[in-house]
Symmetry: C2
Subunit: 354 residues, 2 copies
Amino acid sequence: MDDQASAPRPTLAAVAAQAGVSVSTASLVFSGRGPVSDATRERVLAAATALDYAGPDPTARSLRRGRSGVIGVVTEDSLADTFRDPMNLALLDGIGEGLGDERLGLLVIPRVSDPGTELAAAPMDAAILLGCSTDVAPSVAALRRRRVPVVAIEAVPMDDVIAIDLDNRDASRRGAEHLAQLGHRRVAVVTLPLDAARTRGEVTPARMATSAAHTTLERLGGVREVLPDAVAFSASGSTVDEGARIARLLLDVPAGERPTAIVAQSDLLAVGVLRVADELGIAVPAELSVIGFDGVRLEGAIDGVLTTLVQPAIEKGRLAAEAVLAALAGRAGTPVLLHSELRIGTTTGPAPAS
Amino acid sequence: MDDQASAPRPTLAAVAAQAGVSVSTASLVFSGRGPVSDATRERVLAAATALDYAGPDPTARSLRRGRSGVIGVVTEDSLADTFRDPMNLALLDGIGEGLGDERLGLLVIPRVSDPGTELAAAPMDAAILLGCSTDVAPSVAALRRRRVPVVAIEAVPMDDVIAIDLDNRDASRRGAEHLAQLGHRRVAVVTLPLDAARTRGEVTPARMATSAAHTTLERLGGVREVLPDAVAFSASGSTVDEGARIARLLLDVPAGERPTAIVAQSDLLAVGVLRVADELGIAVPAELSVIGFDGVRLEGAIDGVLTTLVQPAIEKGRLAAEAVLAALAGRAGTPVLLHSELRIGTTTGPAPAS
DNA sequence: CCGAGATGTCGAATCGATTCGATCGAATCG
DNA sequence: CGATTCGATCGAATCGATTCGACATCTCGG
């Protein structure tokens, strides 16, 4: 019962003493980076077992080695919301794949409030910034001061940040062209969050000017290259509920004022839009075309196939992990630009004759 | 560019020197746990800014303080699969809630292969064992040696482990009674993994005897208290695909040999079963009743409402977090037993007349 | 005007390991 | 057989902070 309290955790020094060797030799046994005779090794290991020694203290080891074996994964949402987005899960899949058998733990850090505080407090050897739709500059600054290599997924290009980027603008443009070719002229966009406060509402030029949400702006810009007049409303997150919320604003109006197509900046948002269309009895794609972004698996959440821009999500995660490993090895990480592909499903069709 | 390489990261000592104070005083400024005059404080902070000092090194601080500010979350599956289970997401929600504003990071550690190795290498102040369906003894032993308090969710009771437990056996029994009352006699069970290897296949007495999968065995035991002859097949994980896989074994047989009801040990498994029933044209609940476990939100994955045992998942996470905080504060954590409730949905009905 | 108490600052020990260079005996080689 | 090398071991410095006890200064009551 009170063993735990009474017996202090044994240290390497205690093990060395018990085995009758010096601490340095004992250390060699556990780290395996020096020549040790078999006899000595066994004596040390026996002593460790006798004392119930659990191996070198990770904290002390980290301090001395200058490595903690931990990769920080910095997310935008709350912990659980982060993992509710299949996009992030795919990224995680890729990261796990890319990290391979390196023994690195993932420390998940929600960047919800006061950026920097928590970021600066946790030990980590490198950081991956996940889905940087809002302003990441403060976080990056905090990490840079700590000399922590940063890999950012879809962030605005910055010094000392290895970018794993996506052709957001070009892809969105292709999506918009698809709609334009189908005759759509009245198109609305449901965007990802536009600022750190995740304000919900119409995207005005003023808001765009002060926004640092790279991905959001790029995707919107791509659409407006083709459809300059497309109105846009920002969601407060990439969730089905948010998509539905914005969709109600856009669709619950007299039929004449309704857009004939909605571009959602994520598949989850698109599902929300489809759900509301269904509620309101608006036929898709006869009366309304919907296009998403990401190309994640939607597990039977919708009937048919969502027209969307499929991005190589797992690949993205894998490349991020590889960039981290490169940075850890002292090699310069290579920035990457990935490409999305338009998948035409059953949610887009010719614009209804007006 | 090469600033990063050339200029070594400044230390507290450098800041102290620059400010003309001792290291101890500088430390006091950052940790805020001693009296420092305003003038001194400002001088130190100015020096820190001048040197671009990012604050005390987390690793060094952890070593000295004996606290790393990190909670280990030990999972059974791969990283991404863990978070694909809505059950675990709900737990995470609860953990986040229970941790509140304590500045604690969550280190996610998949306990896939060689238990203990990674576990022992990462710094953490406490560990939460998530969904312990398979054998956790080795992990617990490794953590205990390191004097890391362990909170286990639904694990077999062990010394020095704070258990957050669920009435698995009783709940399953109530589910089985519901089926029995409806006249079902030929009932099959799709179980969670039965062993660390996650072997898929029929659950034989021999396998049960060597299994340490607490949750799995309890839930199965509960069913067999009512329906002793229920056959059982173990899945290799709590996923829709696994549920479907086992369901095909059970349902793709001549109609006379088919069970009239299937008890799935998780909602995800149940969804897999429903999917296969649909594929094979078996009407639910007219020809087949299906019951799940967990009561998680299934986001339109099925038509109707799943009959299932709803457990207080968020509460479970919250209690686990509170137990962790208690342990960290030196207080003894209180073991908890939570209760599930049978929710009767549209997937169970009277047994078909044979 | 002196001693008690409060306040601010400092030096030194400490947390638990890793690692560099030195040492020493044994084996190898010419 | 002496010089050299190699393998095994050890001592001591180091990683970057925190914290305890000591010390100096200042305030205030008596």
